[in-house]
């Protein structure tokens, strides 16, 4: 995990857990605002496309990604990224990427050591548990609908909207949760080697 967040060329010190937790809260508050905004605008009809795209960009810019190299969390895959990204700085795609994240030049940024691999596995397990619980809620809701146990039509949210909302949360969590758990739980980092 990096101690500095590079965002559009600005270096922000994120070595302390307090700062990282504040960032996580900010990110999920932003997602919550986006979900509410999307609901208010068209009940998640067309605006929900942003709820699929924005988490990917938050990953790429801030959190870190399985395949980007940008963001705080190092690549989860312990292998080199596509050579174009890392080694051909003149490639149009590489130039575009440099607008958002610094190119990967250090081997350590795309490989994880044994502790990092253990942490990666641990946070994925926690994220999996959360996602499983959402799937269980979806199943429970479907069951209640099928058995007429709970009539959601009378409420402000239709049944389909409820399922849709849960799947939106599921999508956001699937893309961002492992990284945010890591940012939340890792202790203060030493900036000086």
């Amino acid at each position: 995990m990096k101690t500095e967040l590079v965002l559009f060329g600005t270096h922000i010190n994120m070595a302390t857990r307090r700062r990282r937790r504040a960032l996580v809260v900010l990110i999920y508050a932003g997602f919550a605002a986006l979900i509410c905004g999307s609901w208010l605008s068209d009940h998640w009809h067309f605006s929900c496309i942003w709820l699929l795209i924005v988490p990917l960009w938050v990953n790429r810019l801030v959190l870190g990604h399985y395949d980007s190299g940008g963001g705080l969390v190092d690549l989860f895959v312990s292998k080199e990224t596509h050579p174009i990204y890392a080694y051909d700085p003149q490639h149009p795609w590489a130039r575009l990427r440099r607008c958002f994240s610094e190119p990967i030049t250090v081997k350590r940024q795309y490989t994880n050591d044994e502790r990092e691999l253990r942490r990666r596995d641990s946070v994925h397990r926690t994220a999996y548990e959360f996602l499983s619980s959402i799937v269980a809620i979806v199943f429970l809701a479907e069951f209640m609908k099928a058995t007429d146990l709970w009539d959601l039509k009378a409420r402000f949210l239709t049944f389909d909207q409820l399922i849709y909302g849960l799947l939106i949360i599921c999508n956001i969590a699937a893309v961002t949760l492992p990284q945010t758990i890591l940012l939340w739980t890792e202790p203060d980092m030493e900036t000086e080697a």
Partner: protein
């Protein structure tokens, strides 16, 4: 009883001498991390006892410091190195005195 004033190990449940050995040899965390092919923060976690290394990493550390693994990691608190050296010298001195006595008699 903890006679060495060492703080209890962290999550790993292991005491270690990495920080002492590193300071003794004048190497930074980064240098040790590069030699072990790990992140320098992992060295910090090891030193604080917050991470128990794999057997491979423990053996690599032993190889690097030219010491057996049990001289670097222990489940019991370590005695200070100076105390151990003093005790070894005392034992050696006593053995030599016994030998001299035997020879003179």
């Amino acid at each position: 009883m903890n006679t060495t004033d060492q703080k209890a190990p962290g999550e790993s449940g292991l005491y270690n001498r990495i920080a002492v050995l590193r300071a003794e040899r004048g190497i930074s965390r980064q240098q040790l991390a590069d030699a072990m092919d790990v992140n320098y923060q992992t060295i910090g976690f090891l030193e604080r006892g917050e991470y128990s290394p794999s057997l491979k990493l423990a053996l690599s550390l032993g190889e690097y410091f030219a010491l057996p693994v049990e001289a670097i990691f222990s489940k019991q608190p370590f005695q200070p190195l100076s105390q151990q050296v003093y005790r070894t010298r005392r034992i050696d001195g006593a053995a030599k005195a016994d030998l001299d006595t035997e020879q003179s008699s």
